[in-house]
Symmetry: none
């Protein structure tokens, strides 16, 4: 019997189910390569370059992701899944009072380092299809926010939308050349201060 039989204990990567072991490995390689290439050169980098970076033939890339769009979307989904996992972990274990700030800080750091997906978010045509994968992340952030508010660390009249908006904005900003670690910190300081209840703010 030559059944594919993927080992059943594998992590639940969406889109990678039911593939033979080697195919799954290659899928992962392609995603990694694509993330790197698009991070470096922007989403107009050629699919061929992704294939080269992955050490695979171009046909293999297109077999896994039949369109360049599909590849970009897959990267997005992957990254969003990563982030969601992280929020959920924080929501379970993190310090209730400042969980929101912690998560935002991490995300901005990551964005600056990985440069990846956040940059892609700005591109037209991709957004819509990823909306589904965005929901769990939003939910996770909502959870963090609620906890921080219950703990009195964030003012009550702030909604998830603002938080996500600020997060997105600062992450994108952080991709620009001039933003060093210190600028990130100072920018976030302002944002965090705006989020705090009047009583809990940092002094001048």
């Amino acid at each position: 019997m030559t059944s594919p039989k993927p080992s059943p204990g594998e992590p639940d990567v969406p889109g990678a189910k039911g593939l033979r072991a080697d195919a799954r490995r290659n899928r992962a390689r392609i995603l990694a390569a694509a993330a790197a290439v698009f991070a470096e050169k922007g989403p107009s980098a050629s699919t061929d370059e992704v294939a080269v970076r992955a050490g695979l033939a171009i046909g293999t890339v297109f077999k896994h992701f039949p369109t360049k769009q599909a590849l970009l979307q897959a990267i997005m989904k992957d990254l969003l899944a990563d982030l969601t996992r992280e929020v959920e972990a924080l929501a379970a274990d993190g310090d209730p009072a400042t969980s929101t700030f912690g998560f935002m800080t991490r995300m901005v750091e990551q964005a600056a380092e990985k440069k990846t997906v956040v940059g892609l978010l700005a591109e037209a045509g991709i957004d819509l299809q990823v909306a589904d994968s965005l929901h769990p992340l939003r939910d996770g952030i909502a959870e963090l926010l609620a906890r921080s508010q219950r703990a009195g660390a964030v003012r009550e009249d702030v909604g998830v939308d603002e938080v996500v908006a600020l997060l997105t904005g600062v992450c994108q900003g952080a991709l620009h050349a001039g933003w060093d670690r210190d600028l990130q910190r100072r920018t976030l300081a302002v944002v965090f201060d705006g989020l705090r209840p009047p009583g809990a703010r940092r002094p001048t």
Copy 2:
């Protein structure tokens, strides 16, 4: 024969000097068309489409801007010049106390409407060359900030860099689909509150 010399009273548009009147008119048309096209379809829109929109032949576009990059840069410079003019006007006439907030609000609104330049800023390869045109804008913002701080509307320990950073971030964020006017306002409210001195903040 009409004089090819540009009438000396013309506004000092960079790149438009020493051109015959019709040539200058075409230059302007191209820039307007390009701004519109790239705003709609992103910077990967074809130069040909710009030419069509401008009602000119493709050759004419390339005669004025020998490269697509050059065209993109020119749009950037133009927009930055506009913004700079606006900051300077505000710095001269605006309400000293809240001039910074007013300017930021306007910019975010514009970004959402025009979508243009801010989106372009995110593209790789363009950033560097525009740095020059960015300085006057930064200086104008610095001036506004200083006035707001003198008036007690912004806390003293905030620097221009943070303000520019926040501005860039929120502008880019505002380009996304979900951002309606209300979200813009609420997001900026948080940012403004973070910029205010502890005593001047809005109550919960």
Copy 3:
């Protein structure tokens, strides 16, 4: 262990000898799927689609037919064999007087329904190799023609070549969109009338 030897009573399908029972079954499935697919989408349909339609893996298809060309030829041979069997049956049992007309009518009907092979005949590069399988068919038609002529239903000065030529032509024509059953009949009526001896023709 079941014997891999094919039961000796099997029909003499060319190319299917010496195969295990399941292999022979697969061969048949592939041919059927291929006939259907190529009939629908033309000979440029992908081999992969054939595999899917046959419910087999692409590798299996190529194991049976090492080239796409080979597959196309096999379909042709199969169809020609079918037709030959039919002519031979008619030559044995059919009405001697009109056997030729009956066979032509059937072929045109089939062509319109199956669309398959006749269409393929038009493609370059395939024709030659099938010449062998065409001979028996031609011989069968010659036999029918001779009998019809002996019975006085077809004029004596008509040769097999014309009959085959007319048959081919009308079959190909019948593949086109506009040809409904009625047009087929009317077209063949003209041809048949041209084949009849002067005395045996239909009145105006």
Copy 4:
């Protein structure tokens, strides 16, 4: 003044209007090359080969015909226009009695020589869009047919559809390898005899 000004006396080639002289020349070259290439290698020949044969760059071909389909259609239209012109000439000047037979003979000869378009007609996906250009040809044939019938050379109960059908069929048949001039003649002899009124037929 650099107006294109195509000389107004040019023949009315559809699709070639309003082009600069050089562009029109190239359009014609492309069509000729394409007709030749597709005639030789079938419609799956590469557009690139057409470009090479035309002595032009591939981009030029796609500028004139933005799709391969468009190119194929243009060839079809061109050929149909040629044929239409020919029928119309015959309808004006030709021998009223046998005009239909004369036209059919010419078309079959051409088909065999040019091999071009008739072969393309068999391909799926093209037919529909050409329907418009086919009408005038059909009308011309109808005219010829009516005249031949009035002159007593063709039986009254034959319709245009059959004639077109027979024409198409025999033309396509004539593309095959085996069909020499003599076979063409003998095949058409049968068809013509079937079209004649009972009294006007050739003797055995």
